[in-house]
Amino acid sequence: MQLTNRKKEVSFKEQSFAERIYLPAILKGMVITASHLFKKSPTINYPDVKRPIAPVYRGQHVLKRDDAGAERCTSCGMCAVACPAEAITMTSGERKKGEEHLYREEKYAATYEINMLRCIFCGLCEEACPKEAIFLTDRLVDTEFERNDFVYGKDKLVEKMNERIDVTKRQTSAVLEFKKTLGLKHNELFDAQKLNKGKHH
């Protein structure tokens, strides 16, 4: 059975003089390499020039603060449940009096860790989050020398007040449309009066 037409019969005939001094074959090869001399190199000078990244690229996570600067995360654990790689762990804490400017709701994440070696950057945590607290961004996770350093705590994950991270690129029209769904009280503060007003479908 013939699978391809690239089959070649091997012959053991003696080499001619031209073949034995190799020159014609060498010239042929040199023409091939010389033709590459005029080709454009596809190299990108990485630290100077960066490849464009898609606006919805899923890179290192950020824990958002709200406009007043309070952490949005309420330590509900939805992200940890959604995570297929089991990369997220957290412990909860209770907001004390006088900490209202730090935490948006009464319960907050006392610790929040993502193991960047386990994470597969699928974005399911972001999808699961009811408080719009966690987002994936277009930042790349840095390299480290120790495995432990890849476990990112709140110090690395929570955005700094002086360098807010723009996640509007991740809010595609489909996402915004989804958030209008009644009953998904996405962005609202917990309010006893409003509690029963949302209609669940």
Binding site: R20, I21, I26, H36
Partner: protein, 351 residues
């Protein structure tokens, strides 16, 4: 007398520095050229476009730990790279770099020394070069190094024979002088020797590749089979000297080929150009232009060396020996016979 010593000192220092600079930048150009042939960019971090890369490489080489194996023959181990480097550099002493310059009625040759057996001197020094490799490889007391050294010596000896015969043909057709200066001057008015010796040049070129241990004849180092060949045990700047001397060899053999076959510092319509510029014989400017012409030719040859290196795979050892003894040697003898017949009819030799 003082003027003579100063002039020779300047010439020696100048040619030495020229060799070092050319070899240093040949390493950079080698990497750049390889990159271009492989659709890459090559070293570009050290300085603008990688212009300081040779400096960085040199500093790296000097900073590395220097290891002399306990089982080696210590003095010979140090002598090996030194000898290789010395022979690489002293070949440059007979190459005429530019036209003689006239200063205050005194003629200064742009050549360290013009000896009347220049061509034989070249061959002799080139074959001493193999001692550096041989001594280095043997004194390492390492099987890989010894194999590399044995390969190097047999290869160099094999290829010296066709090279010598090609040179005999060249000397017959260029008027019988062994002095490089006279060979170059002989090409001033007429054609370059390549016109009368195309086959001879081809043989000489192939042999020069083998003599300088360049790919596809780099079996002595042959990292795929012999780890590093003769320099397996070498580290730090002693390894650097071996690698560096290879580039000096390449530069010098390019210079020799340009001198013997391509007219050295002469170029077509040189006299018309000098006349148009109003330059008298012995002017410094004529020397500088001629030096530029020679450097252009050398650069072309170096590119050709590199082009070949990055095109061809390494020969198998039996192929190398077959090519040397069964193809190049008969070809060079044929070339010699043809040359004698042609020169008889041109009237350059009489019986």
């Amino acid at each position: 007398m003082t003027a003579f010593i100063i002039y020779k000192a300047i010439m020696c220092g100048g040619v030495f520095l020229l060799c070092l600079a050319a070899a240093a930048y040949a390493t950079l150009w080698e990497r750049k050229f390889a990159a271009f042939l492989q659709d890459r960019k090559g070293p570009s971090r050290a300085g603008w476009g990688g212009i300081l890369q040779p400096v960085a490489d040199g500093v790296k080489m000097f900073m590395k730990e220097e290891i002399i194996p306990n089982v080696s023959n210590r003095s010979l181990f140090i002598l090996g790279p030194s000898l290789f480097m010395i022979t690489a550099v002293i070949t440059s002493s007979v190459v005429p770099w530019a036209k003689p310059v006239m200063i205050d009625g005194q003629v200064y040759d742009m050549q360290i020394t013009d000896i009347n057996i220049g061509v034989i001197y070249l061959l002799g020094v080139a074959s001493i070069g193999v001692y550096g490799i041989m001594i280095g490889g043997w004194s390492s007391n390492n099987k890989f190094a010894l194999l590399g050294a044995v390969r190097a010596s047999s290869q160099m000896i094999s290829y010296e024979i066709p090279m010598g015969i090609a040179l005999i043909a060249l000397i017959i057709s260029s008027g019988g002088s062994l002095s490089l200066k006279e060979i170059v001057e002989g090409q001033d008015a007429g054609f370059a020797n390549i016109v009368w010796q195309p086959l001879g040049f081809l043989i000489f070129f192939i042999c020069a590749l083998a003599e300088t241990n360049r790919a596809p004849f780099d079996l002595p180092e042959c990292e795929t089979e012999l780890v590093g060949g003769y320099h397996t045990e070498y580290s730090s700047m002693k390894l650097g000297l071996f690698l560096f001397a290879e580039y000096i060899n390449m530069f010098i053999s390019s210079a020799v080929m340009a001198t013997l076959y391509f007219g050295g510092y002469n170029f077509p319509f040189a006299h018309e150009l000098y006349e148009k510029l109003g330059l008298a014989d012995g002017s410094v400017w004529i020397s500088i232009i001629g030096f530029g012409a020679l450097m252009t030719k050398i650069f072309g040859f170096i590119c050709l060396f590199m082009w070949i290196r990055w095109t061809l795979p390494r020969f198998r050892y039996d192929q190398l020996m077959n090519l040397g003894w069964k193809s190049l040697l008969p070809l060079s003898l044929l070339n010699l016979a043809i040359t004698v017949v042609v020169e008889y009819f041109r009237g350059n030799i009489k019986f």
